[in-house]
Symmetry: C2
Subunit: 456 residues, 2 copies
Amino acid sequence: MQKPSIPKGTRDFSPEEMAKRNYIFETIKEVYHLYGFRQIETPAMENLSTLMGKYGEEGDKLLFKILNSGDFLSNLEPSDLSEDVSAAKAAAKIAEKGLRYDLTVPFARYVVMHRNEITFPFRRFQIQPVWRADKPQKGRYREFFQCDADIVGSDSLLNEVELLQIIDEVFSRFRIRVLIKLNNRKILSGIAEIMGEGDKITDITVAIDKLDKIGIEKVNEELLAKGISQEAVDTLQPIIGLHGTNDEKIATLKNVLASSATGLKGVEELETILADMQRLSLRNELELDLTLARGLNYYTGAIIEVKALDVQIGSITGGGRYDNLTGIFGLPGVSGVGISFGADRIFDVLNQLDLFPEDYTRGTDILFVNFGEREQAYILPILSELRKNGIRTEIYPDAAKMKKQMTYADNNRIPYVAIVGEDEMAADKIALKDMKSGEQALFTIRQLIDKLITKN
Amino acid sequence: MQKPSIPKGTRDFSPEEMAKRNYIFETIKEVYHLYGFRQIETPAMENLSTLMGKYGEEGDKLLFKILNSGDFLSNLEPSDLSEDVSAAKAAAKIAEKGLRYDLTVPFARYVVMHRNEITFPFRRFQIQPVWRADKPQKGRYREFFQCDADIVGSDSLLNEVELLQIIDEVFSRFRIRVLIKLNNRKILSGIAEIMGEGDKITDITVAIDKLDKIGIEKVNEELLAKGISQEAVDTLQPIIGLHGTNDEKIATLKNVLASSATGLKGVEELETILADMQRLSLRNELELDLTLARGLNYYTGAIIEVKALDVQIGSITGGGRYDNLTGIFGLPGVSGVGISFGADRIFDVLNQLDLFPEDYTRGTDILFVNFGEREQAYILPILSELRKNGIRTEIYPDAAKMKKQMTYADNNRIPYVAIVGEDEMAADKIALKDMKSGEQALFTIRQLIDKLITKN
């Protein structure tokens, strides 16, 4: 008999883990609702024609493909197995469906398919697992959950403002101190433009992105090595070394980018957002960070990233504006902006900082000890009464040894155990043991209900 | 540009559908919690070695298999494509993982893998999608949700009693009137035994199962055609024509099955369960139904099935006891009993009978009309104040035409629209329009909060 296992990179979630995960999802969901976002779900499987080509060549390789059912072999010929044929080409003949890789492309597909039922601007959120055939490693899984909110069909910067508020609110509720970093793709374009190297924007941002890690000297070396002129590198210096308050940074940027219309537009967008944010007094700091370049080929306006302050971990939330999400499916001109909370990393942060609230892992409130058939028959209606009052109630199903039943309560962290034997039945009372303090006292049903209801 | 679509048999869920589905899941979840069940989740993908051979030959064919990533072709040789090689055999070489087909086998795998962390008896519930490559048809999907609760590690019939209570409670909350049917596999074995046809139990139950559809004459014909003796068929008559109350049926069964120890054991189990149920006064009827034979090769004790009374639809919940669930993974002697609510069919029933409670589809509570930058800046802190009080608040992101903004509120069923223009700002008031009545009145922020909080 083989020992059962699960595919690498996937996980089971125990009741304790589920309680913690539900706390994360429920908190995010509640805040999304407060801002008027509406939940949708899409199928785990999408047609590969929907998924392929949307995540770059690397992404295509990471898609989990589903074998066509039935006689898939008839589509494969011996010549398909020759060494000249790539696995991707053969896969296309025997797999038409794949598991969703993120929530953004399925959402774009959803918007296009349901455009006639949707009233724009459409504020949707979606909390579902995604799958990637990545090399599994610590903190990286092949099945993991994304928690996305997007607004499509509106250019207004108010959307960016509200998404930043949501980030601030969610992490305040989690009691995780964060730094919210903000950038704008148009500023990055502007920088490349004034350097006279507009076509080298990718090289430039990749180099800037490394500033924290390798320092300014090495960044400059790398830029020169990429064939960027000394003059252009000189122009970059006041920007790359940018420091001070957000206002000071903006003032400098306005100067440096004076000759780039695109760059100035980016600065103006940032200024508008920051002005609104000041009015709203966030609890977490918002920092303009020009080295923020994530998803460069994707975002067209704001770029957002969140870092936990008290734990060494990568970005725990990210987002930005993309101008043509649905264009790939034939619906151009729909601008969108969105964020995505990384539930798995947030889980790790809450665990490390011991921030999970105790009452969220509420399980069973009370366990009734089982002494046998007579007692059981007497207890059954009492159980119903407690449950009617919203009290989570269990009876141990067998008349096992007392010690075993108590261990069960302990291991399942059930705070109260009720003991109803001969004496209690005669007195019409319930003996209640507080598992934490060890204290025991007699209660009527009514008293018991009152005690446990106030507990919850 | 191709028109995007989703794989057949799968579905998108709109915000309205999600609200309804969440109502179903939350209701079931709440009742599971009241009975002390604890939630787990397992990965969508399982190793095919875990899934294959657990659902019969037909089931194996309905598994969605996931193509190995990387160079899967190297495992396939031209000879694998010859017509003599079955698709299944070739698939085994290029697919090691599959999508979960139900929640029971992954649960058994979970129990075996985590046996050292679990305190038995283990009461777990699980609400997740499952996938089957079935022929899609009305009401049958390739991706659908199961809502399972099981207790493993206890033989006590109290578990059956509590599962029946859960069924009664859940459908009472849904306001769906149901008939709960109960049978016991041991009784079916006893019947075959006294007929002297113990080895033909499958033929016998398959025939009995058709009683409703084809009538007793045809059932008898079928039994004879299967090679069952006239004498045996005669013995069956008092059982197959069984009627009256549950007590009357039990009395008859005791008589007829007097010579079968197994049969009597089944009757005794039923009696114990029914005695407890009477003490608990269910709101739905519980009927002993000998023609209930679902999952015959699987269940070893109680068999449970639920039918909606006011809608023509198949079974909407089912379950039973299985004595050796984890044996297939090397952990023998763990008895289990469980039920599974069919969320998709319950959805259809609630829809047809118009039983979805209105307040469960609560979306945004109030939309603020957007008149432009000045008003927007004035409104932003008000929005924060409302949200702080748990009121789901939106502002239209653009200063669009009034009519467009009102249509947005209408289409999204937002009950209140707030209008804050020049006059209102000067008076420090908010004009509130009730979208249902059309009435409009002026409020201070405090008054507005009080009004909307009492609404929720």
